[in-house]
Subunit: 375 residues, 3 copies
Amino acid sequence: MPVLIDSSQALNVSTLLKEIAESSKLVHKIEPGQVYSLSTPVQGIGSLSSASHQELSFVVGPQFLNALSQTLAGVIVLTEEVSQLFEEKFGKAAFVQVITPQPYLLYALLAQWFDLKRQPLAATGVHAMSVVDETAQIDPTAIVEAFVTIGAHAKIAAGVHVKSGCAIAHHVEIGAHTLLQPNVTVYDSVKIGQRCIIHSGAVIGADGFGFAPNPLLGKGAWGKIAQLGSVHIGNDIEIGANTTIDRGALDNTIISNGVKLDNQIMIAHNCMIGEHTAIAACVGVAGSTQIGARCTIGGAAGVSGHLKIADDVHISGGTGVTSNVTEPGRYSGVFPFARHAQWQRNAAVVGQLAQLRKRLRALERVGSATQPSSD
Amino acid sequence: MPVLIDSSQALNVSTLLKEIAESSKLVHKIEPGQVYSLSTPVQGIGSLSSASHQELSFVVGPQFLNALSQTLAGVIVLTEEVSQLFEEKFGKAAFVQVITPQPYLLYALLAQWFDLKRQPLAATGVHAMSVVDETAQIDPTAIVEAFVTIGAHAKIAAGVHVKSGCAIAHHVEIGAHTLLQPNVTVYDSVKIGQRCIIHSGAVIGADGFGFAPNPLLGKGAWGKIAQLGSVHIGNDIEIGANTTIDRGALDNTIISNGVKLDNQIMIAHNCMIGEHTAIAACVGVAGSTQIGARCTIGGAAGVSGHLKIADDVHISGGTGVTSNVTEPGRYSGVFPFARHAQWQRNAAVVGQLAQLRKRLRALERVGSATQPSSD
Amino acid sequence: MPVLIDSSQALNVSTLLKEIAESSKLVHKIEPGQVYSLSTPVQGIGSLSSASHQELSFVVGPQFLNALSQTLAGVIVLTEEVSQLFEEKFGKAAFVQVITPQPYLLYALLAQWFDLKRQPLAATGVHAMSVVDETAQIDPTAIVEAFVTIGAHAKIAAGVHVKSGCAIAHHVEIGAHTLLQPNVTVYDSVKIGQRCIIHSGAVIGADGFGFAPNPLLGKGAWGKIAQLGSVHIGNDIEIGANTTIDRGALDNTIISNGVKLDNQIMIAHNCMIGEHTAIAACVGVAGSTQIGARCTIGGAAGVSGHLKIADDVHISGGTGVTSNVTEPGRYSGVFPFARHAQWQRNAAVVGQLAQLRKRLRALERVGSATQPSSD
C-alpha cells in the first residue's frame, strides 16, 4: 500500500478533482458506484491490486478488465470504453467511476496533488542552525532548513527549498521554485534554473578529471589542471540521488532545459546534454561529449569522451557508445548472457573470431575451386 | 597492520574467549606456546603475514602451514589437524593455539568483539545540535548525534544509532538497534527494520525515475509521475556506502530480511529483493524487477526492468541480465578482454557475425552437394 | 564563458606572470598586440572560441591557427613557431602574445593561480557550529567549517581545510594541506596524507563487503565479518565525488602517492593501488586486487577480485578485467555497439559461437578430404 495522506486531509472525489485545474477538460463524468458514493473520502492512489477502499486507482486500457473486477479501490479513473466493457462483462461496478479519455494523464495530475499533500508545511526563511554568508541573497519566500551552508554572493530565488545538510558554495545561483533534497552539494559558481528537483547526495560542480603528466613531480606523476569552468543547469530538470556533474575545464558543462537524470549518473566536464533528454541510472558520459535533444539512454550505458550524439537517439541499457552517432534511431551493444557453462564455451570462441573468419575464407576459396559459386 | 584496541582494553586469550558466548561450544582447547603464554594480552586480529605478537590470527586449512611457520602472531586459531601437522613439520609452536573445528566462524565472532571494542561509547539521547520534530518519537536508549534532522511523526526505536549529518524525513520508522553511519538520507515514510547497518551516503526513498511524455510542456518534454510508494527494508540488512534505493511509484520497493547490499548499488522503484540475497558493488537493478531469495549478483552486473529472477540464481560480475531467469544456477555474460590489438581484430568480426553464419551455411550446402553428410 | 575573478583582483599579464614562480623559466617574451596592450587586465582563462578580451587563452600547436585568427581573447599563450606562422598568415595579432616553448604547462600554472583567486578567504580555526572531540588535535592553521564532526583522538594537520558537513570519525589522521570538500565521510582510523583533495560525497573507510554463510541465522543467511583493517591514503591524491574506498578486513586498503581517482569509483577492501595510477569515473575494483604503478583505467571498466595488474598497464574504458595482467600494455574488451537491428542479429549468433566453430571444423574436414590442404 502506498503512502496515504491523513484522513483529515482527505477529500471526496468530486471536490478532489476541482482542486486540479486541468480536470475540467479531462473529466467527462463521474458516476457513483454500487458500494461507494461520491462522498467517499479519498486518501491516496494505489495500484489495482493493492488499493483499498480509501484509495483511487486507474486503468489505461481493456487489458486490465479482469484485474479491475478484483480491485478493492473505492474510485477508478478509466475511459468510457473500459467502463462500458466492464459493465457488459461484470455488471454495475462497486467503485466510483471517473470517466476520462486520458486516464494516465489524470493519474499523473492526481499523483502530484497527493504528493504535495503529504509534504509537511515548512516555514519560509533561514533556519537558525544554518550558516549563510552575509553577502548571499536569499528571497524571503525561500526555505533554508537546518545545517545548510550558503556561500558569499550566492543568490537563492523565490520559493526555493533547500533541505537540511546541503552545502551551497559562493556565487551559486538557484532559480525560483527549485527543490534541493537533503545533503546535496553545489560547488562555487554553479547556476541552477527554475523548478528543478535535485535529489540527495548529488554533487554539482566538482572538479573535472583533468591532469597532465608532470615529470617534475616524479616518474609518471600527474599535475592538476584547475577546472575554471562551471556547470549551467537549465529549467525543469530533475537530477537523481548521488548523481555527479563535474564543472568544465574552461567552458561550462551544460544541462539543457527539461533534462531528466536518474540516480548515480556521472556527467564529466564540458559535456552538453540537449533538451528533454532522459538518462537512466548508472550511466557515465565522458568528457566533452555532446548529446542531442530528446535522446534516451538506458541504464548503465556509457558514452566515451569527445563524441557527438545526434538528436532523437535512443541507446539501449548497458551499451558502450564509442563513436559518434549521426543518425536518429535505436542503438545497442550488450553481450548476451546465458548459463555459465554455455557462456564459457561461447566467450572462448569470441577470442578466436578473427582466426575463425580466416578459416572460413580459406574454405570458401576451396569451395569455389571445387564447384561454381553458389550465390 | 589492522586497527588495534587500546592496550588498556586488551584481554588475554582465555578471558577474551569467555567474553564470546558461543566460544564454549567452539573452542576445544587452548594451548600455550613456546614463546607466548596464555596471559599474553591480545589487542587485535591480523592476517598471518601482518600480525604482530599482540595480535591473534587464524588458519582455515593445511594449505597455510608454511605461512603459519613464519607468522609473528601471538595467538593462532586453528583446527586440531592443522595443529598436529604443524608440530610434526615445525615442532612446538611459538604462539598460543586455540583449537576449534571451525576457525573461520570463531574468527568472525572474535572480529565482531574487537570491532565493538574500538567504537567509542556514545551517550544516548539527542545531541543539542540536532533538529527533531516535536511529534517524532525517539526511544530514550537511541543515540542521535549532531547535525541530524528527524521529521514529524518519525519513530526511532530502542538502541538505534543515528550518526552525524543524517537526514530522516517525516513518518520514517527505524527498528531497534539499527545503525545509520554519517550522512545517510532517508526520505519520508520509509520503514527500516531491526539490526540493519546503513553506510554513509546511502539514499533511501528518493523518487523513482517516473516520467510520461507531456507534449503540452514542449516537443519531447517529460511530465513527472509523482512517486507515492515508499521503501520497506526488513531486518538484518546491510546497505553499502552511496547505495540508492528508490521509492515505489504506487506500491513499495521491498528489501527482504537478511539482504546484503554493497556500495554504489542502485535499486530502482518497485523492485523486490528476496531474503538473504547478496549483491556486490556497482550493480544496477531497473524498475519493477523481482529478484528471488538467496541469490548472489557479482559486481557491476545489471538487471533490466520488469524481470523475475528465481531463487538461488547466481549472476557473475559484469553480466547484463535482459530476460527472466526461471531456473536456479549460475549465469554469465561478459565480453572477454585481451590485448588491445587482438581485441580490435575480434571485436570487428563480432559486427559481421550474422554474415559469417550466412557464409558458413552456404558452404555447408556446397559441402553436402560435393559429398555425403559427414554427420 | 568560465568563471572570472573580480575585476578588482585582475592583474595585467606581466604582473600576473611575475606571480607564478616558474614563469621566469617558461616565458621567453611578451609582445603587445595591435588592439590589446600589456596593461590589459586579465580576469580569467577561456577557450579560444569563448574567451573575451578580459581573458587569456592558449594554443598548443599550429593546428589551431584558424581558430586563433577568430578568438576575441586579449592575451594568448603560444609558441614562437605558432606566433610566426600566425603573423605570416594573418598579420600582426590583436592580442598580447606570451611566447613560451610549453604553452600547456604555462596554462596549467595560470589556471591554478586563477583557481586559488576565486576561492574566498576562510578563517582558520573551528567553526562554532562544529563538534570536535576534546581529545582530537586540530592544528591552529587548519580550517574546520560548520556542521563538521571530528571524533576522539583524530589528528588534523597544518593547513588542512575541512568544509561543511564532513564527518571525521575517531583516530582519523589527515596530513598537511589536504582539502575535504563538503559532505565527505571518513570512518574511524583512516589515514590520509598531505596535499590530497577529496571531493564531496566520497566515503573513505566504510566496511568492506565481508560475509560468511551462517546457517544458524536461517537458510541462506549471512553472518557479518567485521572489517578490522583501515584505509591508508598517501600524499598528493585526488579522490572524486561520491567515490567509495572500503576499509580492509584485516590488513589495510592502500592508495599510494599520486593516485588520481575520478568520481563514483568503488575500491573494495584490501585493494592496493600503485603510485600515480589514474582511474576514470565509474570504475569498480573488487576486493584484494593489486593494481600497479602508473596504470590508467578507462571509465566504467571493472576489475575482478584477487587479481594482480602489473605496472604501466592501460585498460580501455568499459573493459572487464577478469584475470591477472602480467605485462605492460593496453588491454580492451568491449562489445561493439551498432544499430539495434544489426546488433540483434549479431548478438544472437554470439550465443551459438561454439556450435559455429564446430560446424566450421566439420567443413574443414570435408574440404581437406575433397582436395589437398590449401595452407
